[in-house]
């Protein structure tokens, strides 16, 4: 009996090996005076490294807020869990609202998971502060009244890098070859990229959709060589970006590489001398703003390494919600939404304050194109990039890079 099973065992082994990890529910203690907040972010999978930074950031904000006496005299209690995948994310969000008694939901990096949590928020008529997912569709055709978005959307990233590319004469009449993450985020970013190429006379001569679990890019690199583009452009996400950067440097293809999406943890993991080109970022720890520098110093003291952009954005997000609760003296959904929709200004540790645009719930804020520091100029392993000037320029409205009402089909 056992003998016959061994062989079948091997065949099922492959399926078993791919079995997903089931997250264990956090232990919840009922304490009436705490304000509970549900926080979901991917801790495993291709965005797991970013989620780990997200947790560090939100925990630091929670500790600071509670050390200063909490909000309305009540401590914040952030229940933070691995969102795993879109299906698990929505199940956990529903459970947090129903059983754990959280006041509202925060978090996410994965656009597909963010979308399912948005649906849970709408169904339950509760607030969801969508922090780290960048797909345009979330604040566009899929937008809803209960969700606010903190991170810059894809269109802003494309426009931020695009401005720099146009200035360097790298767009007009140039042939682009793009590599795109094969899920809602990537498709969305490719659309934004196509609009940009169209508006600036760039030619898209090839695109490859790449599954999120691909680790070997060599067949794609050979196809790029066959296509002979002028510029290679990455629309990838998370671990994909790191793998591409490493293998692009390995093959040493002669075409310059740029990207419309990057998180600094992905760049840090790429290894010495592998990253090149122009990329966008929403924040970097070398940003020359006093409040930002204080945050960075405190973070390093606590965690022994500088914060990544997801640590920063989660930190300011919890501070935004604390301010909202304090000002409205309430955790009620309608009051919080009304407060955020008033276009209240928030200090987000940047030169200019940010505000949520009332008609699509998107935080308006500065972004930065960056280039890579030449060898020998970096102070340490984290000091990898040279930030360009903030976009939009100080004399332009913050909205100037964001999708316009004509471009954005959102109606709340």
């Amino acid at each position: 009996m056992t003998h016959t099973t061994r062989r079948t065992l091997l065949k099922t082994g492959a399926a078993f090996a791919g079995a997903s990890v089931i997250g264990s529910p956090a232990l919840v203690r009922a304490q009436a005076d705490k304000i509970k907040i549900g926080h979901l972010t991917p801790l495993t999978g291709f965005l797991g490294a970013l989620g780990a930074y997200a947790q560090l950031g939100i925990r630091m904000a929670q500790e600071e807020i509670n050390a200063a006496g909490g909000v309305m005299g009540r401590p914040l209690d952030v229940l933070s869990e691995d969102s795993v995948n879109p299906a698990t994310a929505s199940t956990k969000a529903q459970r947090m609202l129903e059983q754990d008694g959280v006041a509202f939901l925060m978090g996410e990096i994965n656009s597909a998971s963010a979308l399912t949590i948005m649906q849970v928020a709408e169904r339950n008529k509760r607030l969801f502060l969508q922090i780290g997912a960048r797909s345009d569709a979330l604040r566009g055709k899929n937008c809803n009244k209960y969700t606010f978005h903190v991170d810059i959307p894809n269109t802003v990233m494309v426009n931020a890098v695009g401005k720099a590319l146009v200035r360097e004469n790298m767009v007009k009449d140039k042939k682009f070859f793009t590599l795109t993450a094969d899920y809602i985020f990537g498709h969305d970013l490719l659309n934004a990229a196509k609009r940009f190429f169209g508006a600036n006379q760039g030619n898209l001569i090839g695109d490859e959709l790449i599954a999120t679990d691909v680790t070997d890019f060599s067949p794609y690199l050979l196809k790029i060589r066959q296509a002979k583009p002028d510029v290679v452009c990455s629309n990838l996400a998370g671990n994909q970006v790191t793998n591409l950067i490493k293998q692009y440097a390995e093959f040493g293809l002669p075409y310059p590489i740029v990207g419309f999406n990057l998180n600094t943890a992905d760049a840090w993991a790429a290894g010495d001398g592998n990253l090149s080109g122009i990329w966008p970022t929403v924040w970097y720890h070398t940003l020359d703003v006093p409040a930002s520098k204080t945050f960075v110093a405190n973070f390093i003291k606590k965690n022994g390494k500088p914060p990544e952009n997801h640590a920063w954005i989660e930190y300011v997000s919890l501070k935004i919600m604390a301010q909202a609760i304090n000002e409205t003296k309430s955790t009620e959904t309608d009051k919080l939404i009304a407060y955020l929709e008033k276009e209240t200004e928030f200090d987000i540790l940047k030169a200019r304050k940010g505000h949520f645009r009332s008609w699509d719930h998107q935080l308006m804020q500065e972004a930065y194109p960056f280039t890579v520091k030449a060898k020998g100029q970096a102070k340490d392993q984290w000091d990898l990039i040279a930030l360009g000037a903030a976009v939009p320029d100080a004399n332009e409205p913050l909205e100037s890079l964001a999708p316009t009402r004509e471009q954005n089909p959102c109606s709340l």
């Binding site: 056992t2 003998h3 016959t4 099973t5 061994r6 062989r7 065992l9 091997l10 065949k11 082994g13 492959a14 078993f16 090996a17 791919g18 079995a19 990890v21 801790l43 495993t44 999978g45 797991g48 490294a49 989620g51 780990a52 930074y53 094969d182 490859e208 959709l209 599954a211 679990d213 691909v214 680790t215 070997d216 060599s218 067949p219 794609y220 050979l222 196809k223 060589r225 066959q226 671990n239 790191t242 793998n243 490493k246 293998q247 440097a249 390995e250 093959f251 040493g252 943890a265 992905d266 840090w268 993991a269 790429a270 290894g271 010495d272 001398g273 592998n274 990544e308 392993q381």
Partner: protein
């Protein structure tokens, strides 16, 4: 010209297959001799990568790709002695569970020691860039990997087919009862096989660290492909695994060339087809103890 690009994809697929091979061969050997489906195999691959990144920091790349597999192979002794040994005759579902558990424990341990953020690793300067042979483009570093795989493969083949050690192992795969009747204890051989197997996985990890992302879940990412290779190749056959690994690499490359969207699915379709036509795998032997 089109033909040239195809050939390039084929050769590139063969190189990639070599890397799959390093992981799959150990998996196949451990299963063939001990009857254990080692779901923790990927964990040793990840440990190999992490160890090599650490050693590279202090002693450079050369010592790292030698010392890291050796260290992991030594860990393999403890793995075999204290864990696997209890499960050779037990219900196979137990060994499946224990190795799956070990894989998760190792992944979390890596996360606790090195953190969730990926480590950075680079190719040594001497092996950067690519070489042209005629119109063919080869990554210099992947040629190095190919050479290492070829040497390891030759070594393992000689070990299994030209030494008394190999004769006992091959006999042990087919007729462990006969080996025992001849007064030979299989256990020390099993220890050696596990060492060899996890050492090869660690070697793959060490060589792939500079060109792919070094993160805690890298082991669970690779184990599925390794299983596919073993299933396609068939049990007990050295050349079966070799053939399957190369086939998987080439099929993936060709699919990406023609139908990019099906690239990752192609290897599972291949496995399905092989199982339908030859349930035993391409060159799998009939092993009485598993029938």
């Amino acid at each position: 010209m089109q033909f040239g690009f195809l050939l390039e994809q084929v050769v590139n697929g063969l190189v990639l297959g070599g890397y799959y091979l390093l992981i799959a061969l150990g998996l196949s050997l451990i299963f063939s001799v001990g009857g254990i489906v080692n779901l923790a195999h990927g964990a040793f691959y990840a440990l190999g990568a992490y160890a090599s990144v650490e050693i590279t920091k202090h002693f450079g790349f050369g010592p790292a790709v030698v010392l890291s597999p050796v260290a992991v192979a030594l860990l393999g002794i403890a793995f075999e002695r204290f864990i696997l040994r209890r499960f050779y005759t037990a219900d196979p579902i137990l060994s499946l569970l224990v190795t799956f558990g070990l894989a998760m424990v190792t992944e979390q341990a890596i996360r606790m020691i090195w953190g969730a953020a990926p480590l950075s690793a680079s190719i040594p300067p001497a092996f950067r860039g690519s070489v042209f042979l005629g119109d063919f483009l080869f990554s210099r570093y992947r040629l190095l990997i190919l050479a290492v795989v070829a040497i390891v493969l030759l070594g393992v083949w000689l070990l299994l087919h030209k030494t008394s050690f190999g004769r006992v192992v091959r006999a042990g795969i087919q007729r462990p009862d006969m080996v025992a009747a001849l007064g030979i204890r299989l256990q020390p051989y099993m220890t050696a096989i596990v060492m060899l197997g996890v050492g090869m996985a660690a070697l793959a990890g060490a060589f792939f660290a500079p060109i792919s992302i070094v993160h805690p879940a890298m082991g669970s990412e690779i184990i599925t492909v390794a299983f596919v290779v073993v299933v396609i190749g068939g049990l007990g056959s050295f050349w079966g695994v070799v053939l399957a690994a190369l086939l998987v690499g080439v099929v993936r490359g060709m699919t990406i060339h023609f139908v990019p969207a099906a690239g990752e699915a192609s290897i599972y379709v291949l496995m399905f087809l092989v199982l339908v036509v030859r349930p035993r795998g391409l060159l799998g032997e009939r092993i009485e103890k598993f029938e």
